[in-house]
């Protein structure tokens, strides 16, 4: 006896398995290549070679000089000096530096011309230089809309010529 096909329309199933294989491979690839990186920012410094800077026009304002004294053995920060004044060390010193720079450029029409020269000991840990550069470039404060925002002080940062290392002299 002949049995009739009762289903009538046959549903065509697409082959899902290969696609899922590929999709899983892609997923694993992107998961493995994911690298969680902290976002980075930068501080711009403009340092043309010495020969060019000698031909510059005389400045309207003298450079602000920031001196960073380091412990020769560990590279720890011993003292921050601004001009002739000692500001101590640690985070409070950089806050004080920030405050003084802010006072010095406040209301000055030549604020854009001011340069800060950072004179650090050879062995000083680099993080303190970043702190000093940060203290000179700006400050975070409450904006008019209550949101924190950045106020810029000095854009032009440069380094004094490098000093001698004290470590090499002591054989360390």
């Amino acid at each position: 006896m002949k049995i009739r096909n009762q289903g009538g329309v046959e549903k065509i199933e697409p082959q899902m398995a290969p696609m899922i294989d590929v999709v899983f491979l892609l997923l694993i690839f992107f998961m493995l290549t994911l690298k969680i990186v902290q976002p980075e920012g930068d501080f711009n410094i403009n340092m043309p070679a010495v020969a060019q800077s000698q031909t510059e026009t005389p400045k309207l304002l003298p450079d602000f000089k920031v001196r960073l004294v380091a412990d020769g053995a560990t590279g720890a920060l011993l003292e921050v000096r601004y001009g002739q004044r000692s500001l101590g060390n640690g985070p409070p010193a950089f806050q004080l530096l920030q405050q003084m720079i802010r006072e010095n450029i406040a209301g000055s029409p030549y604020a854009d011309e001011v340069e800060v020269e950072i004179d650090a000991d050879f062995d000083l840990n680099y993080e303190h230089v970043i702190s000093a550069v940060s203290a000179c470039t700006g400050q975070v404060q409450q904006g008019s809309d209550g949101q924190p925002e950045v106020v810029r002080f000095v854009e032009k940062i440069k380094f004094a010529p490098p000093r001698q290392s004290t470590r090499a002299a002591t054989g360390g």
Partner: protein
């Protein structure tokens, strides 16, 4: 005659929701992964700072110099001091006063042998010449991005800057000024992401 209906017991799993979710995951990971920071070296531990804001305008040309330490498993600082990670090699910056003496070591970090002594200034000059040959104004439009570890002595960074500033000889024999623009990289802190910058 009665025909017994034989139902297949194969249960069809509905794949559609799973595929939806998997595609979502793929899209998420694709968006989140960045292939931009390929020149950054993960061995460098950047200092952190609140004011470290990403540049508003990406420089047209940049040369990234990674200065860091080959730390051991316990993250102690090595005796040899900091190195520049350059083109897959570790370049030592010596602390002598001659600004151009850098020894380059080959091979793995824990099996260091002095194989050759090359000035790092030589390598930097090669980079300058490469930019120059491509018709890029080295002093005006190339930014040297310095990614230095927070424990690197400052004097070495200054020496590196001096080497980068030095004049070089182009392929046509003319003397050209070296790099003049530098950017010091720092890691953002959690709070610095909320800021917007005011003024120039």
């Amino acid at each position: 005659m009665r025909i017994k209906k034989t139902e297949p017991v194969l249960a069809e799993v509905d794949m559609t929701p799973m595929i939806d979710i998997v595609f979502q995951l793929i899209a998420f990971f694709m968006v989140i992964s960045n292939f931009e920071q390929t020149q950054a070296d993960e061995r460098v531990r950047l200092p952190e700072d609140v004011l470290a804001l990403p540049p508003k305008v990406k420089p047209a040309h940049e040369l990234v110099l990674n200065v860091g330490f080959l730390r051991d498993e316990k993250h102690n600082l090595p005796e040899q001091g900091p190195v520049v990670f350059h083109a897959g090699r570790f370049c030592w910056i010596t602390q002598q006063d001659s600004p151009a003496s850098v020894r380059i070591f080959n091979g793995r970090a824990n099996a260091i042998q002095t194989i050759e002594t090359v000035d790092f200034s030589y390598r930097l000059n090669q980079e300058k010449q490469l930019f120059y040959d491509r018709g890029v104004a080295v002093a005006e439009s190339v930014t040297v991005v310095i990614r230095a570890d927070s424990r690197v002595p400052t004097g070495l960074i200054q020496k590196l800057i001096q080497l980068a500033q030095a004049d070089f000889t182009g392929s046509d024999g003319s003397s050209q000024p070296g790099f003049a623009k530098f950017a010091l990289k720092a890691e953002q802190t959690a709070e610095s992401r909320a800021f917007k910058s005011r003024g120039s």
